[in-house]
Subunit: 734 residues, 2 copies
């Protein structure tokens, strides 16, 4: 019960980066901060913000930005709305039909349901579609491609299925959705349909809306298919802010726009299409839970898909609210969440946004009581996250030089709900974050959110993991991939970032549909907004402690240890790939694939692969060894902050927060120069899912051994540069 | 390609148990044996044998026995039909209905389908039912219990669901079906419904009959629910043959008859019942693929189940055909397969039976050409396997003393189909069996059945298993549990047994339904009966080599090594159970189960368990050490057979085949004295699935530490007795 003690006996509390004296004050401010938090605010703001669909370009989108700005202004923040102009397509024509003797036309409609007062706002809703699909009018046979990721196409090849000239139908899941049409187009498909299978998102998961929280048969997952793993933001202005007079690409030259038409559909609409498929039955792991036998196709009758979009330029409204720091006004702590939604967006993103607003409100109350954070706090409410992280990306690109100088850290939230704390972020912030989860209390159980998360992780684990985890309550930060607005901050500009939220008990099958509403959220997401308050307590502490710390609470040694694990991972990946290749090549040579297969089915032996070479990791190993020593040395002397002059202290803090910048390489990652961070990136073929040490890891996955070797060198050099920063910090403290 | 060489270059071939000279002769006979095998025989016999339903007591059951006997007689075997009289219930009344405002009455009918000429033989078919269900007329709420095995009830308890006074509905799978009503009754349920979920046995697996091989929506899996893990065979005559004048129990005293009414149904009939369930949704691993959300129940409306049976005494007809051995007429090699079916039974059991008939035919052709097996061959065609291994059990009990003296080995087959060789058996026969799979050629690929099975096992394995298996083509025999007629031979009398078959490509979802027909089997099971011939080649060699060997090819050292692995397994089981208990008790003490659970759902913390003590394995370890030495010593001297006198040779062979008898203990296993084998038994709570070293393993699973300790002693003593047999054999050879 050491943690309860921590929170109830404040005078004993140490806070990273604070002198003992300032820690006592900080703890007191946090207590007062908590006391200001009021769930009723979250409820009433959510009611307003979700009262109408508020996607990019809608009336309510602008109204929400103004509403949010007005709140910030009321609370005393220097507030402005930064506007950008971006390409934002919306559907003009959507036709999906099965031709032939028993034709079927997809409804592509989500009906209003009882007890959900916004689900019927037909005229204001964006229809279900995938943003940045190509225009197209294609008629072809249909083929089922499971999740439509590269390994699925390897299986299809063995089953002798070619998607060239075909339309593919893929299940949601297994990757970010934009990967599916991208990979389909790479294999020659001319159209792509994505549907939600009830196995993953529908009746199999639980009772469907409005009886329960899960996706009803007509529910559709909208979403972007812009090739964001290449670069996010406005496709016409890569790398620069989409200001009015920015230089823009021709649309035809924007490589991130999808090459083929793609449309998301419900499982009700998918059923007749899947029934029309002939050919072999699918591999067991590809099956869904519709009441049919799943076949690979091609379909007996052709499918017609016609999509025409309005390729409009639309305005974005980013709300930026500043509170200037008393001591270091040019050191910024940024806290953001997006405000745009696909439709009414109660869970995504309003649940996180209203927590952020509550944080701002409560901080403003503290200010009135005499609280003066040393550093500048910047609250941000982004527009256009859903289509392509538009608002955050354009703003970051527009303010790149200023951010490189001033940004200490970026704190992101997005959808939030009942359950357990989850967190991904820069590993220098891990120890700092763990101190905060020690003191925030879980509203349902009364223990700390760290205790509760620990309980869950242990109960869910298998025996061996339990033995490993037992009594180890420390929460490792997951690495950041993509999927929300931290991406431009971290991966383009090198600002230490953290993304947090609660979840796991907020059951939902309404993601990106008209049913993600206030009515749904307050029944199933976070009734009473208890976890909205818990989020405000957690994110608020992160912001305030970073803003108020004497010495910034970055820990380099944890960063070293984590990257060291990544180095082991990529070496193991290479070794495993080598063993796997050797075994499979031997099996191919021994004809085992042909001997084992059912002669009545088509399942070709795979082709032999080039053997995997040994790579030279020595430069990276040496760099890591130096980093180890440097971070250990820094740990030893990092007790001397109080002895520094103010100027030296400021100099140290600058080194600490700018160190993350040295993890960038200006030329960026292979095939995507926008992504400059050498430690964290979203996967080129996962979309959201992170690839750590991406230059090495993805080259190995793509079996490009030269590229892997080159990137070992690049990352080694990056680590050396970073190590020099750590050494400089150490020297200051000696 | 060493194995192809083996079969084509016969003069180089060594055969276990044969002198070099006799091996050459034997190989030549086998070549002639193969040449006699004709797939057309299998086809025409199957057509006759499956032309009408032929369950116990039916007209066709008797006609089939007589037809089989006539064939054996034609081929020159001393043939007889041994008849027994047994309790065999069949349904008089079957009512299953959902009451309330929207009533539903289950159809309980499998309709005739196009292209299946026997599926419409309504008047001759046994209705779908579970044999040895209790009579009953119960009305109660329904509860879903997943597979209805003990671990499912632990979960139900945590979800605060009590089945007392309820009717349960369980999915097929997870155990032998008879376990489900037994465990339900132990928990106070008053009725049990079992259905085939399409996830496991229906459209999710593939196209349904008659379009494809899989279970159609009306298809029902019949089957026995007699408590065979307690004792199989006629419930009224445990331990003795059910001859006309046998002493019989009163039906009410027959403990193996199920205590509650139980009925199997189709997934079409199950759907409205499952839809009627309220309460929490089921755990994710319990879900099926019907287009509904699965709930635990209880049902909103009550269910009415009424079952009345004709508790008739019926005759069994076991066909026994002998060919007396030329040198050792009192050493018997028994080869059997059952002939009764639930309905037309093409796959189960006729596919295996027609292979056995072909073996007998081909052997008879050899006899005419001058072949004289040294030992007596006994071909058996059992009646009443489906209800309770009736025919084999009663015959074995009736001939127990004679079999104990004479039986060398029992070779069993049952359903057979296209695919890969599978084999379970006494481990003394493992090396012998592997020699045979070296020479039988797979009909689809032209390599040996061993090569093909190796290819399959390697292709299906994960990386680590591949590394372990690479180039190791040796096929370990699985241990025998139950599920076919080998049980009385092995587990009651201690006769070394082996059960073989081909499968894995014969797709079927017609098990125990009216659709297991000649039409289905010849489309999907084994078109052209190629694998029927492969089975005859394999089983025929087993029979002939055992019948013809100079020295019986039993290998004690492999038995030692296998049992040694089992000893490690039970020790590991105990250690794992201890660690698991310690961890879980700590987690309970730390309140982690309560902290991790969703407060909106019912999921109680488990109760703390008694810590697991350390047991004394030393007596068993010492016994195993002695067995190791003894089997190694035997290996060394087991090259001297040719130096023995004929009398000593015969004495040695008797020791070899009777050694398995010393693995029995007369008092049997705890709670089931009929099962006497101390190494192999079907699980008390798995039904078919084997439990090796059952006395120890099941006691640990039941957390009965005293019983486990006692059984360590009993098994140690058993091993000592067995070791003495091995030593005697060694002494003869010195």
């Amino acid at each position: 019960m050491v943690f309860l003690l921590f929170s109830s006996s404040l005078h004993a509390q140490k806070i990273m980066g604070f002198s003992d004296e300032n820690a006592v004050k900080q703890a007191d401010w946090e207590k007062q901060y908590d006391a200001q938090l009021n769930a009723k605010d979250l409820d009433s703001w959510m009611q307003y913000l979700t009262s109408h669909p508020h996607h990019v370009g809608s009336v309510q989108d602008k109204a929400n930005a103004e509403y949010i700005a007005e709140l910030f202004k009321q609370w005393g923040y220097q507030t402005q709305i930064d506007s950008y102009t971006v390409l934002f397509p919306s559907p003009k024509t959507r036709i999906l039909e099965l031709l032939g003797a028993n034709p079927f036309k997809a409804k592509l409609e989500e009906p209003a349901v009882n007890g959900d007062k916004t689900s019927g706002q037909k005229s204001e809703q964006l229809p279900s579609y995938n943003a940045y699909s190509a225009d197209g009018d294609v008629t072809a046979e249909l083929v089922f491609v499971n999740h439509g990721i590269p390994t699925d196409y390897e299986e299809l090849e063995r089953m002798n299925i070619d998607v060239k000239g075909k339309i593919v139908i893929a299940k949601y899941g297994g990757s970010w959705r934009g990967i599916k049409p991208k990979v389909a187009a790479e294999h020659g498909a001319i159209g792509c349909i994505i549907y939600s299978d009830p196995a993953d998102d529908g009746y199999t998961q639980g009772d469907t809306y409005p009886n329960g929280p899960f996706r009803p048969k007509e529910g559709v997952q909208r979403g972007s298919v812009l090739d964001m793993p290449t670069y996010p933001g406005d496709p016409l202005t890569p790398g620069v802010g989409a200001t009015k007079d920015a230089k823009r690409l021709d649309r035809k030259d924007a490589v991130t726009i999808m090459k083929i038409p793609v449309l998301p559909i419900s499982y009700e609409d998918a059923l007749p299409l899947l029934k029309s498929l002939g050919g072999q039955t699918v591999p067991a792991s590809w099956r869904g839970t519709l009441p049919i036998t799943y076949h690979l196709g091609p379909s007996r009758e052709k499918v017609h898909l016609k999509l025409v979009f309005n390729w409009d330029m639309k305005p974005l409204y980013d709300v930026i609210a500043k509170l200037t720091g008393s001591e270091f006004p040019d050191e910024w702590i940024l806290r953001g969440n997006h405000h745009d939604a696909w439709v009414n967006g109660a869970e995504d993103p309003t649940s996180g946004l209203v927590a952020e607003l509550e944080e701002a409100k409560s901080v403003s109350e503290l200010i009135r009581k005499g609280y003066h954070p040393k550093r500048t706090i910047v609250f941000c409410a982004w527009d256009g996250e859903e289509p392509a992280l538009l608002g955050s990306t354009e703003w970051v690109e527009d303010h790149e030089q200023e951010l490189k100088k001033k940004a200490v850290a970026y704190i992101n939230t997005d959808a939030n709900g009942r359950g357990f704390i989850t967190a991904e972020g820069s590993h220098t912030l891990e120890a700092f974050f763990n101190e905060i989860t020690n003191v925030v209390i879980d509203p349902q159980t009364g223990v700390t959110i760290k205790e509760r998360r620990y309980a869950k992780s242990l109960v869910d684990a298998d025996k061996d993991t339990r033995i490993k985890l037992m009594d180890n309550k420390y929460q490792k930060l997951e690495a950041l991939g993509s999927g929300s607005d931290f991406t431009p901050f971290l991966q383009h500009v090198g600002i230490a970032s953290i993304n947090i939220g609660f979840g796991g008990e907020a059951e939902a099958g309404v993601y990106h549909s008209v049913y993600d509403s206030y009515d749904h959220y307050t029944r199933f997401g976070d009734p009473g907004f208890q976890y909205g308050i818990a989020l405000a307590m957690t994110a608020g502490r992160i912001t305030m402690r970073l803003a108020g710390a004497d010495e910034l609470p970055f820990n380099f040694h944890i960063f070293y240890k984590t990257v060291s694990d990544y180095v082991i991972e990529v070496k193991t990946l290479l070794d495993n790939e080598r063993t796997k290749t050797d075994i499979e090549n031997q099996m191919i040579k021994d004809n085992l694939y042909n001997l084992s297969k059912d002669p009545k089915k088509i399942y070709l032996s795979p082709a032999a692969k080039e053997p995997v070479p040994y790579l030279n990791f020595s430069e990276l190993d040496n760099a890591m060894e130096q980093l180890k020593t440097a971070t250990e040395d820094f740990q030893k002397v990092n007790v001397n902050y109080s002895k520094l002059t103010k100027a030296k202290g400021q100099q140290l803090n600058e080194i600490l927060y700018r160190a993350e910048r040295s993890l960038l390489q200006e030329k960026g990652l292979p095939r995507r120069s926008w992504y400059k961070h050498q430690i964290y990136a979203p996967g080129l073929y996962t979309g959201y899912g992170v690839k750590t040490l991406p230059g090495i890891r993805e080259a190995i996955e793509l079996r490009n051994w030269n590229e892997a070797q080159e990137n070992i060198k690049i990352i080694a050099q990056t680590i050396v540069t970073y190590t020099n920063q750590v050494k400089q910090a150490t020297n200051l403290l000696l």
